[in-house]
């Protein structure tokens, strides 16, 4: 069993109560069975062969958002999220995956997104894709949430690159779902997707990759090693880091001021997977006139609104997570919420609890507007 590799973490977590108040799912459900220690306890019983994996256990394991808040909070250094992924590998092997998860898996494999969408929704973006497929120095990866949910972010990135005269290209089709498949426990399929992406990157002959997606950034900088693959000497940027570089090199200039009170929400990938906290904030600091307010729960402790996976498997959980984070944003009194994720932008914009006065904008769109 894969969870045997994480026996120490499982045994450490099974009786410990120290992170239950910050676990994303336990925090919004208030249910004992949704706490990290119960997941640890269940896996410890499987390890001890007191029970085999069951459908009930499987459901609990897949109801974890893998936001990694528990790991971030833990002062003992334990890694329950990795144990949960290991358990998912086991569950996939045993064919004990909940139906809702299987559906998302099919979508990831067929369409490279969790939304069951066959093609990108934006014709403008499709046009861009067809124009910029010639090999270039910089490869821009949109990520599935931009392609399928928030194409305006992709268009803004292209605009900025044009302004900055960046020699760039895009892929006709991205193969962007390796991380998601891995997190669902489909290691074989995840590896295939990752290999496909790496092959496309290699064929593009680019020297650097810039991605709008926190998930792809994590995959190419760290996640890929867990699949026993590597990107070689390729330089990988998250878009926020690349935009800072363009500004520092004088290739783009922020010409306009913005007299707004705003705050920034970071996705799980930026908050806790890659811990990319400073670049987005440095970018915001470049903007003249803003009144920046930090959310109470920020950086590594930024509260999760769930990933594409939880939104498409257990949407009720995702709705609850979104509401609590939105409440936190509203309490700051800001008129603008900045995010750096197509997924999160879509979630906030489509929330029925969002006040009409609150503007939601991706940082790339903002830089495009002001440059």
């Amino acid at each position: 069993m894969n969870i045997e590799n994480y026996k120490k973490d499982i045994d450490a977590c099974r009786f410990c109560f120290m992170c239950r108040h910050v676990c994303s799912v336990a925090r919004v459900t208030h249910e004992e069975e949704m706490t990290p220690r119960v997941r640890g306890l269940l896996l410890s019983m499987v390890l001890r062969k007191a029970t085999d994996y069951t459908e009930e256990i499987s459901e609990k394991i897949y109801q974890c958002t893998l936001c990694k808040y528990c790991k971030e909070w833990c002062e003992g250094g334990w890694d329950l999220p990795s144990a949960i992924i290991a358990a998912r590998f086991d569950l996939v092997k045993k064919g004990l995956v909940p139906e809702v998860v299987k559906n998302v898996k099919e979508s990831l494999i067929k369409f490279d997104n969790a939304y069951n969408q066959e093609g990108p929704i934006s014709t403008d973006l499709q046009e861009v894709v067809s124009q910029y497929i010639t090999p270039a120095k910089t490869l821009l990866l949109f990520g599935s949430s931009v392609l399928y949910l928030s194409p305006e972010i992709g268009l803004s990135a292209v605009n900025i690159f044009k302004k900055g005269k960046v020699d760039f290209m895009v892929l006709k089709r991205e193969a962007a779902s390796a991380n998601e498949l891995y997190n669902l426990g489909y290691i074989k399929e995840a590896k295939e997707k990752a290999l496909t992406l790496l092959e496309k990157i290699k064929t593009s002959d680019c020297q650097e990759v810039v991605t709008l997606s926190g998930s792809l950034y994590y995959l190419l900088t760290e996640g890929i090693t867990k699949m026993e693959l590597e990107v070689g000497n390729l330089r990988v940027y998250h878009i926020t880091g690349f935009l800072l570089k363009l500004i520092s090199e004088g290739k783009i200039e922020l010409k306009k001021t913005l007299n707004k009170k705003l705050t920034y929400h970071e996705s799980d990938y930026l908050a806790r997977y890659s811990k990319l906290h400073d670049e987005p904030r440095k970018l915001i600091k470049q903007i003249e006139g803003v009144d920046y307010v930090e959310l109470r729960w920020n950086r590594g402790k930024a509260r999760s609104i769930g990933s594409a996976l939880i939104k498409n498997t257990y949407p009720d959980l995702a709705t609850k997570l979104l509401k609590t984070r939105l409440d936190e944003v509203i309490k700051t009194g800001v008129d603008t919420l900045i995010i750096s994720s197509g997924e999160d932008k879509s979630s906030f914009i489509n929330s029925t609890d969002k006040p009409s006065s609150l503007q939601i904008i991706d940082i790339v769109e903002l830089i495009d507007e002001l440059s």
């Binding site: 450490a12 120290m18 069975e33 269940l42 001890r48 256990i57």
Partner: protein, 479 residues
């Protein structure tokens, strides 16, 4: 409630419960019941560690308001179903374990902060709130209940009230029972009652102190108003080493009897200084580690009180460690409770806290230490963490090396209880009590009669009147 002959009756009862709380708040799946069968008590932990299944409740319900609690209690009474309240499940005495199966009433969905009264300096909340969340709400306005134990991240306000919990700052701000203003309780017959509006009066016995510490055996606490305080502007620490327990205890006693009112004093015996302090803080010293702190909003007063306490310590200490170690201890005070800093299986360990007057506590310490260490492979560590003008509390633990813990869980539990019985009776026989702030629960239920002697009949009769069907957390607190 459940046996094979009762199948349809079980369905009828579950339907009644579902009618009260709704489908989403009634849990009957194995994993949900299992989640409520293991708390922080060593016994169910060793049980599951050995691959055995713990005692499961028949179902779990999550009420969302006091009316639902009342209805559930009435259903339990009608059908004579044991009812166990569950807050954070972080108790170390087995108080929340559903040992007679029945219904577990998980209070965590009753978690609203209802009122922060900035005139009276009180806060009212539903007791299912995880206490850290309550503290974070108060922190926004610059307040705190000052009830901040390590279990703050998992325990609920109700759990603290039910077993008379305490926090790191109790020496100055009091235990939970000192913080209560009033409470709302659902009695075993389902009636919803409130204690009087304020706790100090001359209107008969204090009902707060009847239900606080009753561990769910006399009723379900659903709402409470407790004191809050301004967050102190200044908090300062000092730490000292003493060559022996006697000198260190005496220094602590003098600090308290001189009414200097430190917010915290913590004295670690030699074993625990090595076991815990060295591991967490890197203090490699022989002797006993004493740390204390003063807090307040006036720096001059804080400094003056600190100076007096320091002077007391300087009389007999071997080394002043200054403020850094004290501040480091404060900063890392919760780190002790994360694995691997906390004791864990495969060791057998028990927290045997007791409390006594100053003239008795040292003898109890040495007696319990000798009793514990008379068992092979057993170590005894202790710290004194909650101090009063008349005495102090000893937070002592025995730890049995894994090599001496039987693999068979039944044998392991019997050895565990043997150590416990021998040690705790040393305390009882020398003027100490069964427990100071973790509660009695299942662990020491059978010793309550022995501790109280003839006075136990008072508690027994109250229990018989309030809960004649013995549905409320049966098997706990001596009932």
């Amino acid at each position: 409630m459940l046996n094979q002959n009762d199948e349809y009756l079980t369905s009828m009862i579950l339907s009644e419960l579902e009618d009260v709380v709704g489908e989403n708040n009634l849990k009957t799946k194995n994993v949900d019941r299992f989640a409520h069968a293991v708390d922080f008590y060593w016994v169910p932990r060793v049980w599951v560690d050995r691959g055995k299944n713990p005692i499961l409740p028949e179902c779990v319900v999550y009420p969302e308001n006091v009316e639902q609690v009342s209805k559930i209690v009435k259903i339990s009474n009608t059908h004579r179903i044991p009812l166990t309240a569950w807050g954070g499940g972080s108790g170390s005495q087995g108080g929340a374990l559903p040992i007679k199966r029945g219904i577990v009433l998980d209070m965590k969905k009753m978690n609203r902060v209802i009122d922060i009264n900035e005139s009276a300096y009180t806060v009212t909340a539903e007791v299912g709130i995880i206490h850290q969340n309550l503290e974070w709400e108060l922190e926004k306005k610059g307040y705190s209940t000052m009830h901040v134990p390590a279990s703050i991240s998992c325990a609920t306000l109700g759990g603290f009230l039910a077993h008379k919990g305490t926090g790191v700052l109790s020496t100055k701000y009091g235990k939970i029972e000192d913080l209560i203003i009033n409470m709302e309780i659902v009695l075993p017959n389902g009636d919803i009652v409130n204690t009087l509006q304020v706790p100090r009066h001359s209107c008969g016995p204090d009902l707060n102190q009847l239900f606080c510490g009753s561990e769910g055996t006399l009723g379900i606490i659903t709402k409470a108003t407790v004191k809050m305080f301004d967050t102190p502007k200044y908090r300062k620490f000092q730490a000292f080493m003493f060559k022996n327990m006697h000198d260190a205890l005496d220094a602590g006693r003098k600090i308290m009897t001189k009414r200097l009112q430190p917010s915290v004093i913590r004295l670690y015996d030699e074993e625990e200084t090595i076991h815990q302090i060295e591991r967490v803080l890197g203090v490699k010293k022989n002797g006993c580690y004493l740390v204390f702190g003063f807090d307040g909003r006036d720096e001059e007063i804080v400094n003056k009180l600190m100076e007096s306490a320091v002077n007391i310590c300087l009389e007999t200490s071997t080394e002043s460690l200054g403020s850094n170690f004290g501040e480091s201890w404060w900063e890392h005070r919760y780190k002790f409770f994360y694995p691997p800093y906390l004791m864990d299986l495969p060791e057998a360990f028990g927290t045997m806290d007791t409390v006594a007057t100053y003239d008795k506590i040292e003898k109890i310490y040495w007696g319990m230490k000798a009793a514990a260490e008379s068992f092979q492979g057993t170590k005894f560590i202790a710290h004194f963490s909650h101090w009063y003008e008349w005495g102090c509390m000893m937070y002592d633990r025995f730890i049995i090396h894994p090599d001496y813990v039987p693999k068979d869980p039944d044998e392991a539990i019997r050895l565990y209880n043997k150590v416990w019985n021998k040690c705790i009776r040393v305390s009882l026989n020398n003027g100490g009590l069964l427990n100071e702030h973790h509660g009695v629960g299942l662990k020491m239920s059978y010793l309550m009669q022995e501790q109280y002697g003839p006075a136990f009949q008072v508690l027994r009769k109250i229990k018989n009147v309030l809960d004649p069907n013995n549905i409320m957390n049966p098997g706990k607190l001596g009932f």
